[in-house]
Every structure is written in structure tokens, then in C-alpha cells.
Symmetry: C2
Subunit: 419 residues, 2 copies
């Protein structure tokens, strides 16, 4: 019998999805599960975009150009201009979601063994692409006490080695919701430039900045044209995660040339998704304001509810639609599994993403979770009712010694199934 | 200025698309270009599938499950049953085109430095994914004299090393159109099993078998459940290349488990493409017969025309919609570029894929081209008129010494551009 590869054996298992089997089982038992584990909004996709798909009138669903449909890329130029980002069409390569943009960016800029510095906690799936590209992630830990603000330049300096090729940010941040300021980014840019590094930035939550704070793109850092590579996607801003339309944006001609070659041998980004994406341009201009206002309400609901729970550490996130929260439990992986397997409150429970998977430093994040406020306020409140109740029940189980002693819960690694 | 990666610098440039810039320029000069270089059929996508997209009625374009929509995977079970292939839903992972299936398969089964044996000429983009996965391709040369039939087991034995982990076939074959028989595959299976290898097979042209020959899937090889991994796609059979819906099929539980993990961190295959794919099931059952009959006509047209051209070596391909042809020219890369840059016949020219890029052995294929018979017979005949004429003109230029001597043509490597 042939053996699968070592990398296949050890490949990264997403902490966001690996509890899915327990959620399915909970639903099979008739429980309602509030999904706060994944960035899948319940917001409606723009009607104009859906209409564009319904009006699809080509007779052949052909390959799109490897770099994306030119007319769509030209519309993207207008989109970026709203953020005062000036681009040309050939500086935008349309990708199959931000996921593919990350992979092509890593492959084009980094060789096997190269190191990339990432503030942790970071979006867990970066681990998967780093493993595919065989590069090393050097984490710098950001702190819940500061709302996970961007670490100081000195912190980056401390982990810099001869193998360091890039810094990888996500702004506004997934999983913390932290919004980095222009000043912080300017300071980091000086460091990046000085050491001849790439500055990668995942800006898929660009739209989601609250409290009147402005978004500043790394694409607008002065004299950083050759250093900056941005990952983008329509998934979050237009609630179109399933369209699989992202982009890689850079002004570095050699990066672009390489990425286009990768794009060519995977042939084409999705054609229908690009039709949908093109349709978003025709949506009423107040769509985004309405969506943002809705997330702002949810953000405040979540924050108020969490603040009122004893032993919970949280903060008001400035961007995106996540909050990274410290819970009064020893092991959130066990807690999250227990929520799905054993807990219910009025026939309901919730799913959260355990925090440890968002750190590269072993041992960190074990008492933290990522909460995505992707449900409407009514559902979010019900989910928080469940969480509040669950923390009390779980705590009393821990006190009675019913946790971590007699018949410890089998970890999902032992009975993961494919379905 | 940061340097891009070595792999980014040397990454595989598709021979199928790298002449695209010259084709665009030819069109800009008002020439009509017949595109026989790429497997993009002019056949209509099934109307029922297009209708399914037009009827898209979800309000949110959500992530699909990482493994693909379950109801669609269940329909695929029925599809495979028509080929007497018995599968379960969890043995099918829906991917973003066959491209992604190839990448996930390589990552899951092979480690860096592992070797995979592939009969050459082979589908050129396998090179790109092999480079991404950092594995080595060991070619075995198949011969135009036998219509590029599957090499003998002894040929595989000869290149087997301790690093060999897999054999990778494409059946019916792209780029040769050769259809491998059950007997050939059975003989190879014994060898694969004896040496504990994987047997990868790209079967995206499964439908396209001519002259009453039956298709035999490696999934039906006895006692090879753990060895066989199949790459599939709806792109060719339903003329839906832009949908980006493929699949990886295996009965090896460890391969499946690994592939699902890769699938999870890229989050989702395209949702709209899967709607289209689901719609193909509702198409009239004679769709495929009609399409196949059409390709059969084109195949014969192409073969008759090529046979009549002096110095051209060809054969009647048994499957897919390609023919790999030897032309009476020294360097088909130069010839193909010349077709686009300098040649025209009644305002028309054609684009072909130079053969060398389909070989891993240096120096082979320089006088060969891949021709995709993806255009209707009328256009195909006009394209062959151009080719016939072009071979005469080009030959006289070579004889006059106007080729390869004074002011040699700048190779595209020198002035490749991104657009």
C-alpha cells in the first residue's frame, strides 16, 4: 500500500472547520447551532450582483483570461480609486479567492526555507499556505491588553534573521478586529525598506472600519512600490464568499510577471464569480454603508454582552467583524467541543473557533477564542445567552472535577471523519 | 528592492498560453486568428446548466462545503455509475477545476524530491504543479509512430528509482489523443502494485472515445483501491472550462483525509460553478452523444487535411480532442510565433501550441505541435488552409536562408509582457 506524503500527513488542519463534524452531529440531534466560528456573513449579497448572474447570457462558459477579465479589472481600478489607491489593470491579478492570492504571492516572493514575520494571533489558514510553500512563519505576539495592536518595530527587529524575506499583515485584522493606523504602518515601512523585505498585506476587510477611523492601505505607503503586495477578495465586502473571486495587487513588475505565470497554468479564475463581481459595481452606493452600520451594531452588541460576563476579557474591535476573546476556561478546544457535544440551552448552542490555532507559538491562545459577529443582533444575543450560560455550567463541571479527569473527552484528532 | 523567489523567477511558463501576446497583436492588426492552441471548445454549454445558473435563487453566495456541495457529490455518484464506477460521496472531493485536484493530489501523495513517472509528451501544465510541489517528473517517451501509445512496462521499470512514488497518466490523452486500453492499464497496474506506487490518472476526456472503443477507468482496476487517484473536471465534457469545477476521486482514506485538509484551508470550491455543474445532470441525455459526434467529424476533417500536407506526420487519434503532429519545420516555436507575427492568408492565421513544452526531455518535440480540434469543421478547414499555405511559405523562407540567419526573430522570452 503506498504511503501518503509526510506533508500530507502533517498538513495543517483548520481550527475554524475541524470541529464541523460535532456541529453536524449537534444539528442531527435537533439542536440549533449559532455559527460564530467562521467568517460567513448572513448579509445579503448585492441584488445587482445576483441579477448579473441571473442575466448570464453567454452560450459557452469559457475560460476567463488567467489574469481575470480585463473589463472587470478596469472596474477594480475605479473601486481602488475610492480609497485613493491609483492602479493600472496589469497591477491587478484576479485570483480564486484571497486563498489563491496568498499561495501565488508566497510562491512568487519566497523560496523554501524563507521566513515571514507575522503578528500573532493571525488568520489560521496562512499556516496551510506557508506549509504548501514550505516557508517558515516567525510570529510576534500581539497582546489582548492593547486590543492586539501592531507590535513595535523593535519587536520585528528582534526576530529578523538572514532568512527573513517578508512581513505579512492583515489589516483590519482577522482574527482580532484590530485596525492598524497610518502612523504604525509608516514606521513599519521604514523598517521593511531598510531591510529590503516584502510587505504583504491582507486587506479583505478594508471596508469594515468603525468609530470614524479611516482605512490606510499599504499600497499608499510612499516609495514602497516594489515592496508591497496586497491580497484582496470580494468575499467579505459583498458577502460573496462562495463566488471565489479575489485579487493579488502589486506594483512590482517582477512579482506580477511571476504571479501571472502561476495564474496561467491553473488556467482561469471562475467566470461566473467574475460576472457576479462585476455586478457589484452596479449596486446602489449605499449598500456598503448599510452593511457597515449593521456590523457596527453587532459589534457593540457583542462587546456589551461579553463585557458583562464574569472572567471574560475583551475589547471593542476597530475593524473587520471579529473579536478575539479570553474566556475563563483552561482549554478552549475542549470547551468548544463540549459546547457542541454536551451543552444546550433552550435547544440551542454555539460554535466558536478555539484560539490556539491562530498562534504559531506553542501554548498560546489556549484560553482564547475567535468570535465572528456574522449573525444579526437577535441571533447574536441568543448565542451570547448560550455562551453566558455555558461558561457557568462548564465552570461548575471543572470545579466538580468532572473535567479533565474521569474519561477525558476524546480529542477530534482521534475520530475525525470525512464527509 | 526585494528579490522575488528563485522559483518565481524560474516558474513554468505555459507553452499553450505564452504566445498569447502575439495572437492579441495579430488581432489588433485585423487578422482573424483560429485558436487551435488551447482546449477551449466552441461547443455550447448545456442549456439546462445555464438555466440553473439563471435560476440562482439564494440570497447569500455562501462558502460551499470545502469538499463540495453534498447533493452535487451524490449526483456525481450517479454519473460515475454510468461508467460502471461505484463510488461513495466521501470518495469525491470537488475542486476548483482539475488544476486544483492535481495540486492537492501531488501535495497529499508526494513529498519534495519524490519522483513521478509520466509518459511524454504530457499535458504541459503538470510541470507547473510539479514545480509548486517541488517534485521531479521522470519522463518516458512515447512515439508518434504508434500514435503515442502507452509505453511498455519495461520502459517504466527502466526509470524506476527509490524515489519513485507514482505514475501519472492522462487517458484519453492530452496532448496526443491516444486512448489507453484496459489491457495496457492492467499490465501497468501489476507493476504499480508490485512497487507500492500511486497511480494518478487525469480522466477529464473520459467521454471522448471514438471508433466504438470503450473507455476503461483506472478506478475499475481490481485491488487498486489504495493506489489509484483520479483527476476529473466538467470543463471539457460540458464545455464549461470557466466554471472551475473539477474533482479528485480516490478510495484511499488517507489520501482523502489529507486532500480534505488542503481543501479546508482554501475554504471552498466555487458555488456558482457547482450550481452550473448540478444543472448538467438535468440536460437531455443525448447532449453528450451529439457533442461526441461533432468532435468525431472534426477529428476526421483534421486527420484528412493533415494527411494531405507534404512532410506532415500524423495519425487518427482515438480519444480526447487533440492531435500531436510532426511538421516539416526545424523549430515549431519559431514557426508558431511567425504564424502570428508575419503570416496571413486571406486575412487569417492560426495559433498552435509548440510541441517542445509538452516534453520533459530536452530537445524533443521541436518539430511537433499540439492541435486542439475545438472549432467547427468549417473553421477547422479554413485553419488547415492557412496551415497548408503557411508550411509552403515558411519552407521557402527557410530555403532562401531568410530564417535563422539574418536578424533572427527575438524570442518571446525577451519581450514578454503582462496584460
Amino acid at each position: 500500500m503506498p504511503q501518503i506524503s509526510k506533508r500530507g500527513e502533517t498538513v495543517y488542519a483548520s481550527p475554524i472547520r475541524k470541529l464541523a463534524v460535532f456541529a453536524n452531529q449537534a444539528e442531527d440531534r435537533g439542536r440549533h447551532v449559532y455559527y460564530l466560528n467562521i467568517g460567513q456573513p448572513d448579509i445579503k449579497t448585492p441584488e445587482a450582483a445576483l441579477q448579473k448572474v441571473r442575466n448570464f447570457d453567454l452560450k459557452v462558459v469559457k475560460y476567463a483570461p488567467a489574469e481575470g477579465i480585463l473589463s472587470y479589472r478596469k472596474r477594480l481600478i475605479d473601486y481602488y480609486r475610492e480609497f485613493e489607491i491609483e492602479l493600472q489593470a496589469n497591477q491587478i491579478v484576479v485570483t480564486t479567492g484571497a486563498s489563491e492570492a496568498i499561495l501565488f504571492m508566497m510562491m512568487s516572493c519566497l523560496d523554501a526555507g524563507d521566513e515571514v514575520i507575522i503578528p500573532e494571533p493571525f488568520y489560521a489558514i496562512y499556516n496551510g499556505f506557508a506549509q504548501m510553500a514550505n516557508i517558515s512563519i516567525r510570529p510576534i505576539t500581539s497582546q489582548i491588553e492593547t486590543g492586539f495592536s501592531l507590535p513595535q518595530v523593535a519587536d520585528f527587529e528582534r526576530v529578523l534573521t538572514s532568512k527573513t524575506k517578508a512581513i505579512f499583515l492583515c489589516n483590519p485584522n482577522n482574527p482580532t478586529g484590530c485596525l492598524y493606523s497610518k502612523e504604525e504602518l509608516m514606521a513599519l515601512a521604514t523598517f521593511v525598506k531598510k531591510h529590503g523585505l516584502f510587505l504583504f498585506c491582507d486587506e479583505v476587510y478594508r471596508e469594515f472600519c468603525y468609530d470614524g477611523q479611516a482605512f490606510f492601505s499599504v499600497l499608499n505607503l510612499p516609495e514602497m512600490e516594489d515592496n508591497v503586495v496586497v491580497v484582496d477578495s470580494i468575499s467579505k465586502r459583498f458577502s460573496a464568499c462562495g463566488a471565489r473571486v479575489g485579487a493579488m495587487v502589486s506594483r512590482n513588475p517582477r512579482v506580477l510577471e511571476s504571479v501571472v505565470k502561476y495564474a496561467r497554468f491553473r488556467l482561469s479564475p471562475p467566470l461566473l464569480g467574475q460576472w457576479l463581481a462585476a455586478g457589484t459595481i452596479d449596486e446602489k452606493p449605499d449598500y456598503m454603508e448599510t452593511v457597515k452600520a449593521e456590523y457596527d451594531i453587532r459589534r457593540k452588541v457583542l462587546h456589551e454582552r461579553l463585557k458583562a460576563m464574569p472572567g471574560v476579557t475583551c475589547y471593542l474591535p476597530g475593524g473587520a467583524f471579529y473579536c478575539f476573546v479570553r474566556l475563563p476556561v483552561a482549554d478552549t478546544e475542549d470547551f468548544c467541543q463540549w459546547l457542541l457535544e454536551d451543552f444546550e440551552y433552550k435547544g440551542q448552542t454555539l460554535m466558536l473557533a478555539p484560539g490556539a490555532g491562530f498562534y504559531a507559538t506553542p501554548g498560546l491562545g489556549k484560553d482564547e477564542v475567535r468570535i465572528a459577529y456574522v449573525l444579526n443582533s437577535a441571533d447574536l444575543n441568543k448565542a451570547m445567552d448560550c455562551l453566558e450560560r455555558a461558561l457557568k455550567v462548564y465552570s461548575s463541571l471543572e470545579m466538580k472535577g468532572k473535567k479533565n479527569s474521569e474519561s477525558p473527552r476524546p480529542k477530534y484528532e482521534l475520530h475525525r471523519s470525512i464527509s
